[in-house]
C-alpha cells in the first residue's frame, strides 16, 4: 500500500518539493538581506540622537519589503487551499472517475486500509509542507513583525507559526471528503476551495475574537489618555455619536471601538463636545501640528471635566499562543471528523 501511495503521489510530491525549495532559497536570501539591513538600521538608530531619523529608517525598511511580505503571506495562505484542491479532492474522486477503484479495492487490501494509508501519508505530507513554508515565513518576517508589533493582523496571524498546519490538515481532509461525496474531481476541487475560504472567513472573523473572552477596560477621557488617541470623530449632525479610538495595550489585539460614553454609560451626542471641538478647530492646523505627537492632548484636557470614558475591548498580547493553538486544534478536530466520515462512507460505496 505504501508503495502504491508513493507511486501515485510521486509526481505531486516532487512538484511540491521543487516549489518549496525555490521558495525556500528565495526566502533565505531575501531574509538574510532583510536582517542585515535591519541590524544596520538599528546601529544607525542608536548612534544618531534624532528619534525621527530612526523611525524614518525603519519605515523605509518596512516599505522596501512590504511587497515581498504580502506576496509570501499570500503564498502561505494559499498553500493549504492548494493542498486541499490538488492533493485532497482527487484522492478518491480520481479513482471513482477512472473506475480504477474497481481494480485497487479488489486486491487483497481492504478499502479501509487503503484509505488509512493514503490519508495518513498524504496528510503528513500536507502538514509538513505547510509547516516548512510557515516556518520560513515566520523566520523571514520576524524583523518586520517586531517593527510593526501587530501579530494579530489577519494576514500576520494566519500565515505564521502553527495555524497553517491546522489549515493544511483540514483543507486536505475537506478535499478528500468532497471528492468522496461528489465523485467528480473538478466539482470537488471547486467546492473544496469555496468551503475552505468560507470556513477561514468564519473562523477569522467570528471565532478567533470570541473563543477566549475578550478583556474590556474602561479608559477615562483626559489629557493623558487623549495624548495617545489615534482618532477622534464627531458626527456631521449635532445629535450623532462621538467615536474616540484609543490604543489597546502594546502588542495586544484591539477588537472594537465603542463610542464615547458619559458617566451613566450612555453614548454622548456630538452637541455635548462642540465647545471643545470648536476650541480645537479655532487654534487651527498650525496649533494642532505644534502639539507634536499628541494632537488630541489639548482636546483631552478640555473634555476631562465632562467625565467621559470609552470601553476598549482587546485580546492581550500573551493570548497570541493560546489563540494559535486553539485555532490549530479546532482545525485538527474538524479534519479528524471529516476523516472519520470518510472511513464510514467508503465502506458503503459501490
Amino acid at each position: 500500500m505504501i508503495w502504491l501511495t508513493w507511486r501515485q503521489f510521486r509526481t505531486q510530491t516532487l512538484v511540491a518539493a521543487a516549489l518549496l525549495a525555490a521558495a525556500a532559497v528565495y526566502l533565505l536570501i531575501t531574509g538574510t538581506q532583510l536582517r542585515h539591513s535591519y541590524s544596520a538600521d538599528l546601529i544607525t538608530c542608536h548612534s544618531s540622537s534624532a528619534e525621527y531619523t530612526c523611525a524614518g529608517l525603519l519605515n523605509g525598511l518596512e516599505s522596501d519589503y512590504n511587497g515581498t511580505l504580502d506576496l509570501f503571506e499570500l503564498l502561505v495562505l494559499a498553500a493549504p487551499g492548494l493542498v486541499g484542491i490538488f492533493w485532497g479532492a482527487p484522492l478518491i474522486a480520481g479513482e471513482l472517475e477512472r473506475g480504477t477503484h474497481y481494480m485497487t479495492w479488489n486486491q487483497s487490501v481492504t478499502r479501509t486500509r487503503w484509505l488509512a494509508v493514503k490519508l495518513t501519508a498524504i496528510a503528513l505530507a500536507s502538514i509538513a509542507a505547510a509547516g516548512i513554508i510557515s516556518l520560513l515565513m515566520t523566520w523571514w518576517a520576524s524583523p518586520l513583525d517586531t517593527m510593526s508589533g501587530n501579530r494579530f493582523g489577519t494576514q500576520a496571524f494566519n500565515a505564521r507559526n502553527v495555524v497553517p498546519l491546522g489549515y493544511a490538515a483540514f483543507a486536505f481532509a475537506l478535499g478528500v471528503t468532497l471528492g468522496l461525496l461528489l465523485r467528480r474531481t473538478l466539482p470537488a476541487m471547486a467546492a473544496t476551495l469555496a468551503i475552505f475560504i468560507a470556513v477561514q472567513l468564519v473562523v477569522t472573523v467570528l471565532v478567533r475574537p470570541n473563543v477566549m473572552p475578550a478583556i474590556v477596560t474602561t479608559v477615562p477621557i483626559n489629557q493623558t489618555t487623549m495624548s495617545q488617541a489615534l482618532r477622534f470623530d464627531r458626527a456631521r449632525e449635532v445629535t450623532g455619536p462621538v467615536t474616540i479610538d484609543l490604543p489597546a495595550p502594546p502588542g495586544s489585539w484591539n477588537l472594537s471601538q465603542t463610542p464615547a460614553l458619559n458617566s451613566a454609560g450612555q453614548p454622548i451626542q456630538t452637541s455635548e463636545i462642540l465647545t471643545c471641538w470648536n476650541q480645537m478647530i479655532s487654534r487651527g492646523p498650525v496649533a494642532i501640528k505644534g502639539s507634536g505627537n499628541a494632537p488630541f492632548a489639548p482636546l483631552g484636557a478640555c473634555l476631562a471635566p465632562l467625565n467621559l470614558h470609552v470601553n476598549v475591548t482587546y485580546q492581550p498580547a500573551d493570548r497570541y499562543w493560546p489563540l494559535q493553538w486553539i485555532e490549530t486544534a479546532l482545525y485538527a478536530v474538524l479534519a479528524a471528523l471529516l476523516a472519520a466520515f470518510c472511513f464510514r462512507r467508503i465502506r458503503r460505496l459501490g
Partner: protein, 297 residues
Amino acid sequence: MTAILEAHALGMRYGRRQALTDCTLNIPPGHVVGLVGPNGAGKSTLLKLACGLLSPSSGSIRVLGNAPGSRPEQLARVGFLAQDAPVYPQLSVADHLRLGAHLNPRWDQDFAERRVAQLDLDPAQKAGKLSGGQRAQLALTVAAGKRPELLLLDEPVASLDPLARREFLKHLMESVADNDTSVVLSSHLISDLERVCDYLIVLVSSRVRLAGEVDQITAAHHRIVCTRRDPDTLPAGLEVVSAEHTDRQSTFVVRTDAPLPVGDWAAESLSMEDLVLTYMETAATVRPARQDSEVTR
C-alpha cells in the same frame, strides 16, 4: 466443495430503481459461468455484490462460503475485472504488476511476467497508451495474477474487436486452466460466451430467468411445431417458455427435465443463442414497461 456463489432472495435497489430482484442461485464450483442478459438487466450489480463492492439491499449472498469482500482473506480469494477494464493511465505495465505484487499475498509474479511477454506488452509502456484489447489483457493479468479461487469478469470483451475477443477469451481460459479457478463472466451477447461457458445464467429485467449447466439446459429445451392449439392442451410436464401462433400452426419452446414425450408435432433442439433469445424476448413481452427503465451501468 462449497458453492461459488450462493444467493438467497438477493435484491439490490439504487434509489427507486430495482437493479436486482429476488435472485436465488446456487452455482457449484469448478465452472466457467456465463452471465447473460440485455444491458441494464443487473449483471454488473450481481457481480459487484459478489465481490463486495456493493452490499445487498435485501436477501443474502455468500461467495466461496463467506460473506463477500470486507476482509483481506476473502478479497484475496476473489478477483474482479470491471467493465471497460480500468487501469491507471500514468502507471506503466510493470507498475501494474508491482501493484499486484505489493497488494496481494499470493501474487504470482512468474505467471504475470510470462503473460505480459506472451501478449507482447512493453513493461515500460504507460497503461494509458495501450489499446483497448491490451488494456483488458493487462487488467486480466492483474486480476488473475493474484491467484484467486474465483474470477469475476464484467463484460470483459464488450469493447473489443472480434479478434481481440477471441484472444482475450483464449488467454482467460489458459490463465484459469492450471489452477482450477472458477470464472463468472458476463456479456449481453451469448455468442461471446458460448465457446467458454459450461454454466449459464440468464438475467432479464433484474430477475434470474434461467440458471443451470449448459448441457442440461440444452437437453431440457425443445422447440415443437404443431397444428394450432392452446398451450394448455399440451401434455403435463411440459413447461411452455414461449408460444407463437400463425393461422394454422403453433410453435412452442418447452422445457422438460424428462425426455420429450412423442406427440403429433415436429420437435427440434435449440441452439444456445436461440434459447437465450427466447428467454429475453418472453421477458420483454411479459413486462414491456421495464424496457424504458433500463439503464446501462
